[in-house]
Amino acid sequence: MTRALGWATIVGLAIGLVMGFGYAPREVTQGNVQRIMYLHVPSVLTAYLAFGIVFVASLAYLFTQRRKWDDLAAASAESGVLFTGLTLASGSIWGKPTWGTWWTWDARLTTTAILFVIYLGYLLLRAMADDPERGAKYAAVVGIIGFLDIPIVHFSVVWWRTLHQPSTLLRPEPAPISAPILITLLANWAAFTLLYAYFVSKRVEIRRLEAEASA
């Protein structure tokens, strides 16, 4: 199952790359640097998904105390940190030629950096806990509270005056972009979701094997 998911991910990422560089047109205003968006936007949407799963799995763990929920939360948080890191790196690289700076303390950028630090702390908390059960409980609380930053990240471009443009995909109105750009964004989002699912299933499997090895 995980192996099939791995192959589907590779195919999905390859299709996403071909579409990003071959099918999607050169954007009129930004030029080809806009192609970074096929990496940046799917990364942040996948990070939202990952931390959403951490939130749900953490609640489920606190209510049921079943280990499978803790495994899912831990695995999802690790992937979420990776995708948030990719979001920050790709956004920064896009920002230099477009805004003239690698970084600015804009509300969207700052809240995303805070999100990254929260879940990095979540992973550190797990790694440093002497008692795994207590560590899992504390991590679940951080996973639930940390999720509150997601709506702040997403609506920061609405609530504050920001340099960062409003959301392209997750908005009530239709996306203000041409069909080929939208289709390419959605294809890459699907590929990144497959990648996330593969990483999580593999990480959950590893956590189970680690538990068996230490039993």
Partner: protein, 45 residues
């Protein structure tokens, strides 16, 4: 606006390196753990 291909390739390269590194890290860890019972059985673990 100039195309800035160097920035595009840098972004994809960094993402590629991070994803491949994590993928390989998971694969290696899973392999090590899967081999553990066999090593224990042979008395070398």
């Amino acid at each position: 606006m100039p195309d800035n291909w160097a920035y595009v390739f840098a972004a994809y390269l960094i993402a590629g390196v991070a994803v491949v590194w994590y993928w390989r890290h998971l694969a290696r860890r899973a392999r090590e753990l899967a081999e553990l019972p066999r090593r224990k059985k042979r008395g070398t673990g």
